[in-house]
């Protein structure tokens, strides 16, 4: 049995999304600016997808949404325009991010730092979220941007963004959020969540990898990172555009917002069943309080067991999970979550997480729990730091 529980990295493509993309993949599709029937069909597909994106995010008529190759490109576009248009011109001089941002923001911020930009990294509290009050220590009228991800990709903690936005608005500083791990898991209504910029990506909402979007509220500044503009749809990102991807993203966003309530309730029930099962095992602990987490994610520590060893045992039984510390994935650039949460540093290498999607079933969760218990027992049978009752 194959169980896929790594849905915060990449999700399987939804059949309905595939259906929306199929006409563009199987038959010739024209360039957006072509003067023939194929071009007309492409323009129609593009407009339909764009409408769906606006509707799903509740974006205003005068706001901008443009398609990129994914949230890393959206984030980079935004930070580069901050540098070239606001910092190099001397209008602004600093950037505030959280220390657990996605890799694209952390690395872009490190690069900006090398160029002499002041970068403040907000630590996460013992609850695993950014404390909005800590923002006021760093906010000045010359802060160019505050960028805090809506949901932490590893722990699933939801940052209190509405409060962050409120504080930033009083200082007139624009706010950006990377909502890649939040779309389809928490309701995103841009009428009430007044962020100025928002990035999202297809691979976490059952659309294919390689498509994403950047939202910008009206009257905010934007400039392209990738040139090659021919018309308004390509104003902020040179074309030709990834039309099959855009059609897929539009459909996926529509599904994500329409089905949010009941599908996430299903995922939440399964996640809670998994969480209960894990809590029943000895020497385990779930990180981040239940109410502060997205409904599909669960990050736990397993005392006396190394993350990679546990992932290896799970993988042998066909279960795909993730960990925050396994080496070559680059998670090391972030400070350890375990230390921030005030837990025993010996647990640093003992985290394994599970991210569910609407495709997981009860049967899969039972199977996972059964094999998880077996793997823990086996690994603890020769672990020098196994919890007492096993020793």
């Amino acid at each position: 049995m194959k169980v896929y529980l790594d849905n915060n990295r990449v999700t399987p493509v939804d059949p309905q999304v595939l259906g929306a993309m199929e006409p563009l993949l199987k038959e010739p599709y024209g360039d957006l600016h072509a003067l023939h029937w194929a071009g007309a069909a492409s323009r129609k597909a593009y407009n339909t997808a764009l409408e769906k994106c606006y509707a799903a995010l509740h974006a205003g008529e005068k706001d901008t949404i443009f398609f990129t190759s994914g949230s890393p490109e959206s984030n980079t576009t935004l930070l580069m325009q901050l540098y070239t248009r606001q910092i190099l011109t001397g209008r602004k001089n600093s950037l505030i991010i959280s220390e657990r941002e996605p890799l694209s923001i952390l690395q872009a911020a490190a690069w900006l730092e090398e160029q002499g930009v002041k970068v403040h990294r907000l630590p996460v509290t013992e609850e695993g979220i950014v404390d909005p009050e800590s923002l006021t220590d760093y906010l000045t009228p010359r802060t160019g941007l505050v960028s805090i991800c809506l949901v932490d990709p590893e722990s699933g903690a939801i940052n209190p963004l509405e409060e962050i936005v409120r504080i930033c608005q009083s200082y007139e500083v624009p706010v950006h959020t990377d909502a890649t791990w939040a779309v389809g898991k928490v309701p995103i209504d841009l009428e009430t969540l007044e962020v100025d910029y928002l990035s999202l990506s297809g691979e976490t909402i059952h659309a294919p990898t390689g498509i994403g979007a950047l939202y910008a509220r009206k009257d905010t500044e934007l400039s392209p990172l990738i040139f090659g503009t021919r018309s308004a749809p390509e104003r902020y990102r040179g074309g030709p555009l990834n039309l099959p991807g855009i059609a897929g993203l539009g459909k996926a966003l529509e599904l994500a917002s329409d089905a949010l309530d009941f599908e996430m309730e299903d995922a939440r029930e399964l996640r809670d069943a998994l969480e209960e099962g894990i809590a029943a095992l000895s020497g385990t602990q779930t990180l981040i309080e239940w109410s502060r987490r997205v409904p599909n994610t669960l990050l736990a520590t397993f005392e006396g067991v190394e993350s990679e060893a546990l992932l290896y045992e799970l993988n042998r039984d066909g279960i795909a999970a993730f960990s925050t510390t396994v080496h070559p994935y680059g998670e090391w650039v972030r400070p350890s979550l375990i230390e921030r949460l005030g837990l025993d540093p010996a647990l640093k290498h003992s985290t394994v997480g599970f991210a569910l999607s609407r495709y997981n079933t009860e049967e899969e969760i039972d199977y996972t729990l059964k094999h998880l218990g077996k793997a823990l027992e086996y690994l603890r049978s020769f672990s020098p730091v196994a919890p007492k009752e096993n020793a």
Partner: protein, 319 residues
């Protein structure tokens, strides 16, 4: 970057068969008790090395007999499956060795025993530090069993728990020239990267890898110049006497230990020029003579090492 570098690095799926087998079904893991030690007429020594904070911890259980020989060897482990495979192989190698012999197990021999084929490295470059970790654990366990303690050395990299002495000796032993190579062999600097060079976003530290590397490379260069024994010309331009000396040096450094570990040895009979080739005539000694692998695997390994270290046109002919 080359194609080989850009290719997606395999993880567990590309591990050699031997490592996969040992990770899946380790044979020497578990505990030994005082009772079992008594039955074996030996004393039990338990030694911890590493800690869970760096993601690697091994607890050795050794039963030593009166002559100080390791008659039984088991381990408990907190670490990745690949580390499990390496530790399991090390436990196998430690058995029936005296403490001194166990200490002498070196990187090459342990790594060689993990290979599927003599010419394919057992571990990907960025995981070589696991072998050094296990070797360090054996050395400290042996010292502890004798009641000695190793000199203290400051920790340079907290993420991997690597101390200064380990980094210094790794640079010398493996002739490391880059920070990346240090990370591959010792794990230092391969994680959060704060110990590599001073950074704006972290507090100043006592030791940085760039400084250590520069200092040791300078010392090595000076020693090399001072010794004066190094022949500084390409292998092709050497005269037969110099060629013989160069081949001898490579065999002593890279090959002989490997053979001695198996109770064998070899000697060089002659080195002859044969057109563009250099023919090396050798004789196997001890267990190697008559070994089935002497004309296949072992021979390819010897030839491969000489070809890589000296000249691609060397041929090895056993008599």
């Amino acid at each position: 970057m080359s194609k080989a570098r850009i290719k997606a690095q395999g993880f567990w799926e590309d591990a050699p068969f031997k490592i996969e087998m040992l990770a899946e079904k380790p044979k020497n893991n578990g505990r030994l008790t005082e009772k079992e030690a008594k039955e074996l007429q030996g004393t039990l020594h338990i030694h911890d090395f590493g800690n869970p904070e760096i993601g690697m911890m091994v607890r050795w259980y050794w039963v030593l007999d009166e002559a100080g020989r390791i008659v039984a060897c088991r381990y408990e482990l907190f670490g990745s499956p690949v580390l499990r495979a390496v530790t399991d192989m090390a436990a196998l190698l430690c058995r029936n060795k005296s403490l001194e012999e166990a200490e002498k197990i070196n990187y090459k021999s342990l790594e060689y025993f993990l290979r599927d084929h003599p010419s394919n490295p057992a571990l990907p470059e960025n995981r070589r530090y696991l072998i050094l970790f296990v070797l360090r654990s054996i050395v400290t366990a042996a010292a502890a069993a004798r009641g000695e303690s190793l000199p203290d050395s400051p920790v340079v990299c907290e993420c991997s728990g690597t101390d200064l002495a380990t980094i210094e000796s790794a640079i010398r032993d493996f002739d490391l020239e880059s920070i990346e190579a240090i990370g591959n062999y010792t794990g230092a600097g391969a994680f959060c990267g704060r110990c590599i060079a001073p950074r704006a976003d972290s507090a100043p530290r006592e030791h940085y890898l760039v400084d250590i590397l520069r200092r040791i490379r300078r010392e090595m260069e000076e020693e090399r110049k001072a010794s004066g024994t190094v022949i500084d010309k390409p292998f092709k331009e050497m005269n037969p006497e110099e060629k013989k000396a160069a081949i001898n040096a490579v065999i002593d450094e890279h090959i002989r230990q490997m053979l001695i570990m198996d109770g064998g040895d070899m000697e060089i009979l002659d080195v002859k020029e044969n057109g563009e080739h250099t023919d090396l005539y050798i004789r196997y000694l001890g267990a190697c003579s008559g070994c089935a692998s002497a004309s296949t695997g072992t021979l390819f390994a010897i030839e491969g090492i000489l070809k890589q270290k000296l000249d691609p046109n060397i041929r090895v002919l056993p008599l």
